[in-house]
């Protein structure tokens, strides 16, 4: 199939897709160290299963399924813990608008359930459609819509105090 050759040079595939895969995991597990581990586990799995990659979709989409599944499985094994400090890079809390917004976005993601975070990252970071997200999460597009609706309601609440109303109040389909 069209995309099978993408995985022939696995090292190049890794280097081309690594950061997006890491950020996908980070958006879901919300812990940099855990996200790095999950990403590595995902690549081990991807390498071992590369013969099963049918090539009917881009390699990165296939990889993201593995990353998301790994991330959610990892969170299932961990009981929810109270995060003592928000996730901010030590050297980046400089008060600039970009940093402030990043902190607000991450804090809002923290307020979502793991499956909601996965759906939000797949929809808004990767721009996948509902059918693709449904396949990745093992559910239906209708349920994806419900998950995203609930996530948007929560994001609206979480982000409203930190930003202008117009930026979030109309989050919709």
């Amino acid at each position: 199939m069209a995309f099978r050759s993408e995985l022939e040079d696995f090292g190049a595939f890794y280097e081309r897709t690594y950061q997006a895969a890491y950020r996908t995991a980070l958006g879901i597990v919300r812990d940099a160290s855990l996200a790095a581990d999950v990403t590595q586990e995902a690549y081990v799995a991807a390498y071992e299963q590369r013969d099963r990659f049918r090539g009917d979709a881009p390699g990165h989409a296939w990889l993201h399924r593995i990353v998301v599944n790994r991330s959610l499985m990892t969170l299932r094994r961990r009981r929810p813990t109270v995060r003592e400090i928000e996730h901010v890079d030590a050297g980046s809390a400089d008060g600039t608008p970009g940093t402030t917004d990043r902190v607000a976005i991450f804090a809002a993601l923290d307020g979502l359930a793991p499956q909601q975070r996965a759906a939000v990252v797949l929809r808004y970071y990767h721009d996948y459609d509902y059918t693709t997200i449904a396949r990745i999460l093992g559910t239906t597009p209708t349920n994806v819509g419900a998950i995203l609706n609930r996530a948007r309601e929560r994001l609206r609440v979480e982000l409203e105090p930190a930003t202008t109303t117009s930026a979030v109040a109309g989050l919709g389909r």
Partner: protein, 431 residues
């Protein structure tokens, strides 16, 4: 279409995540590369894996051969409220006075179960399984025996029990519809059917009102129904697609002769005898449900809910939000006299002809996020099922709320019980 404000959030999320950099961007330095090399040295025997798969298929084939084509029990008298099934990490059932118990799945397994649905007679439960090994087949196949020992009821018992689940061949078909007969304690006592389901399932399967078939829709614009023997009937439909999502919502008519479909644009009435489908003059239909008497349809259009006849004439606008915000979730009462929805911390009942309404407070527990929505109406018509919460630290709480009295809501599923929203089914019980 994605709104400007959606795009604004997407830009901000990308900026936030793109500002984060992972620690091992080069393959030669990656821990994964070392692990791959170590595993390669171990040279695990692929033939052993194939042998295991063959054994599973043998067991699965035998079990399929032993499938019981159970017939639905005819409905007798008014329904009482049975178990409530929901999806957590596996499938769970719960009822007032009995703690949630897992009836399908074990923690950290390789299956995702979803879409629990009790049949109209309350004797069987259908659900979908999704085999993660289809994409990530690194773990040994996991087969669960097809027979579970009945246990006394009611006794709260969260221990996983054997369930009627069979393992599809890795790499062949990742999704199936499983039908199990309900035993004591809401558990699945035996397998009734293992039915193939399309990978691109667009909405949860729904039982026909005679309990003989399950209808499903796919992202490829197919509407079909499968009976308990696996016989599939396809129904013709020419659905408009916007490209954003494969939205599809549908409902069987009470006499099982017609399926109403809302595709985000039109309402289709699709005869199940193969006749041509027709559309109703309702634009922007997002969800549709027949009234219990089959003479009317409730349709979500934008933020509003309309009651229309089967020829599309408007009877009433029962939920009118002046075009603001998303439509609330709503449900018909079992007698077809009312629709109910949640407005803030109240449940509102509206007569189906739009003539009257009343509201009652939900009584959400103080430590619960008051974000609430209606999940359903009990089969006996005396309780609302309401969900509240949904954040990471406050997962969804399920509440049973009395319809008539002002008694406080009963918490059925607590945040620690692992419900994160999604399909819920309330079993109708008949003496």
């Amino acid at each position: 279409m994605t709104s400007d404000l959606d795009r604004d959030f997407a830009v901000r999320l990308r900026a936030a995540l793109d500002g984060q950099t992972g620690p091992h961007p080069v393959w030669s330095e990656a821990p994964a590369a070392r692990r791959v090399a170590e595993r390669a040295r171990r040279t695990r025997g692929r033939s052993l894996r194939l042998l295991a798969v063959a054994a599973i298929l043998l067991v699965g084939g035998g079990a399929i051969g032993a499938i019981l084509l159970a017939q639905p029990r005819p409905l007798r008298g008014p329904a009482s409220n049975g178990w409530i099934a929901y999806r957590g990490d596996g499938l769970f059932v719960v009822r007032e006075g009995v703690a949630p118990r897992r009836i399908v799945g074990v923690e950290e397994d390789v299956f995702t179960e979803d879409c629990p649905a009790f049949d109209p007679a309350g004797t069987r439960l259908a659900y979908t399984t999704y085999d993660l090994r289809f994409f990530e087949p690194t773990e040994p196949p996991h087969a669960v025996p097809a027979e579970g020992e009945p246990t006394p009821d009611p006794t709260p018992d969260p221990t996983p029990v054997p369930t009627p689940r069979l393992t599809p061949e890795p790499g062949s078909h990742p999704r199936q519809i499983v039908v199990g007969a309900i035993g004591n304690g809401g558990r699945l006592a035996s397998a009734v059917a293992m039915l193939p389901a399309p990978d691109d399932l667009a909405a949860c399967p729904r039982w026909s009102t005679d309990g003989r078939r399950l209808a499903y829709a796919t992202g490829a614009d197919r509407l079909a129904a499968v009976d308990m023997a696996g016989q599939v009937s396809e129904f013709g439909l020419a659905v408009r697609r916007t490209g954003l999502s494969r939205h599809f919502d549908f409902d069987w008519s009470p006499d099982a002769s017609t399926i109403a479909v809302a595709d985000g644009d039109k309402v289709w009435l699709v005869p199940t005898n193969g006749d041509d489908a027709r559309t109703l003059p309702v634009a922007g239909a997002w969800s549709v449900r027949w009234s219990p008497d089959g003479r009317r349809l409730a349709v979500t259009v934008g933020p509003d809910v309309l009651i229309v006849t089967t020829d599309g004439s408007l009877v009433a606008t029962v939920i009118d939000r002046d075009g603001e915000g998303p439509a609330p979730s709503w449900a018909w009462s079992p007698d077809g006299e009312w629709l109910a929805y949640v407005d803030g911390t109240k449940v509102v009942r509206v007569r189906a002809d739009g003539s009257a309404n009343d509201a009652r407070p939900i009584g959400v527990p103080e430590d619960t996020d008051p974000q609430a929505s209606l999940v359903g109406w009990s089969p006996a018509g005396d309780r609302f099922l309401v969900s509240a919460g949904g954040g990471f630290r406050e997962p969804v709480t399920l509440l049973s709320v009395p319809v008539e009295s002002r008694e406080p809501a009963v918490v059925l599923v607590k945040p620690e019980d692992g419900y994160f929203g999604g399909a819920v089914s309330w079993q109708a019980a008949f003496d």
